[in-house]
């Protein structure tokens, strides 16, 4: 059942030809029967036609001169503006405010990536923190045939202000610090070795050879660092617990 209240809001669309098919037919049917709505429709159509026939308004002749003088004034103001403000204005034209939905999405994605990166970096720092052995006092080691890592090149520290270089140098720096820890543990192991029995020495040397071989053949980067960590764990057990047989099972 159509009423004047439901039809009158649709009159604008009907008169502009936006209602077709059944919707237009319903409005037409109501207008045939309802004199009040017919009058509203006639008034609205008359208003629309009168607005459409409104005469154009001619601008004053002086307007062009005004535009030119305002343009000139704006250029002078531009020239007086500091360079950074001009840059900001250029940027603002490129990225209008408020941002559109894709710009919001891009910003959110960047922020999320930054958070993930920060979290990942924090986790890695925790993971790479040297264990208690690394801070143990280094005792003078007697000459020993065991090869040390000191001969290998140390990681080069990047410039402090170069973040990209810093990130690139990170794996090399980690490998270098692991190498130092291994070197220190090897010195301690040389000391401890004097007290071991023959069987312990054989087990230790065999395991050491396997682990060193793992480091030498690992791909540089994380795989190599994993192999280094395995050697560190083994040396820690061997030196601190002074139990090579037990440590043989610890080097997993």
């Amino acid at each position: 059942m159509t009423t004047c209240e439901t039809i009158q809001p649709r009159l604008t669309a009907y008169l502009d030809g936006d209602l077709d098919g059944e919707r237009g037919s319903v409005v037409r049917g109501h207008l045939r029967e309802c004199a009040a709505c017919r009058q509203v429709a006639r008034d609205e159509a008359a208003l629309r036609d009168a607005l459409r026939l409104a005469p154009p308004v001619d601008p004053p002749v002086s307007m062009w001169a005004g535009v030119q003088s305002k343009l000139a004034a704006a250029e002078v103001a531009d020239a007086r503006q500091p360079r950074w403000r001009r840059q900001v204005a250029r940027w603002a034209r490129w990225a209008p405010w408020p941002p559109t939905m894709p710009q919001y999405a891009a910003g959110a994605a960047l922020a999320a990536a930054a958070v993930v990166m920060l979290y990942w970096r924090t986790q890695r720092v925790d993971e790479l923190a040297p264990g208690p052995v690394a801070v143990a006092p280094i005792r003078t080691a007697p000459p020993h045939p065991i090869r040390t890592e000191a001969e290998q090149p140390a990681a080069v520290a990047p410039a402090a202000d170069d973040v990209t270089a810093d990130l690139l140098a990170e794996p090399a720096r980690t490998t270098g610090s692991y190498r130092q820890v291994i070197e220190e543990l090897m010195k301690l192991a040389s000391d401890a070795r004097t007290a071991w029995g023959d069987e312990q020495k054989v087990v230790f040397d065999a395991k050491l050879a396997v682990l060193r071989n793992g480091i030498d053949h690992a791909i540089q980067g994380r795989a190599q660092q994993r192999a280094q960590r395995a050697l560190i764990r083994y040396l820690q057990l061997a030196v601190i617990r002074d139990d090579v047989m037990l440590a043989g099972g610890g080097a997993r």
Binding site: D43, L51, P55, D58, P60, M63, W64
Partner: protein, 168 residues
């Protein structure tokens, strides 16, 4: 540059005239052309040039009204307080009464009436200029016309016939 000015000067000035009134129309239109000429290099072609210029015009006009003082603005809630101008036999020139009623409308309603009914732009174009949805545009137009009918009083159709008849 001058060609572009001459191509759009009447529409820009006309729109500004009907939205902000005669006294400020020239200033607003000048401001629009300054923005057009200075922004032309950065115009990215996301819309038609005409749509962009009309958007600048409507925005400049509405900003001008906001700057001029909120006391002159009439919000939607204030519409009911506006008295309809009395219809007299002497005031038979519907066109001039329409211009007067138009000036009494809130700026938003004025803008949609000028764009759609006076300038004859489609709902799609109006929505692009006013940066709103087409549905919003249609609903605003309906409310604007309803408000105009209230301001102009009953029997606009009869007045239109009378005006047309007397002018012939």
């Amino acid at each position: 540059m001058e060609m572009l000015y001459h191509q759009y000067k009447r529409r820009v000035f006309g729109m500004a005239h009907r939205i902000v009134g005669q006294s400020d129309a020239e200033e607003v239109a000048q401001e629009v052309f300054v923005r057009v000429f200075r922004g032309l290099a950065a115009f990215r072609g996301d819309s038609a040039l005409s749509t962009w210029i009309y958007r600048l015009t409507v925005n400049a006009a509405l900003s001008h009204l906001a700057r001029r003082g909120r006391r002159q603005e009439v919000g939607d809630d204030g519409l009911t307080e506006l008295p309809a101008p009395p219809v007299t036999e002497r005031d038979s020139a519907l066109a001039s009464r329409i211009e007067t009623a138009l000036a009494l409308l809130p700026p938003g309603y004025r803008a949609i009436l000028v764009l759609h009914d006076v300038e004859g732009l489609s709902h799609e174009e109006c929505a692009a200029i006013l940066e709103c949805r087409i549905g919003t545009c249609k609903s605003q137009l309906h409310k604007a016309r309803a408000r105009m009918r209230e301001l102009l009083g009953p029997n606009i159709a009869a007045q239109a016939i009378h005006t047309t008849g007397s002018s012939e």
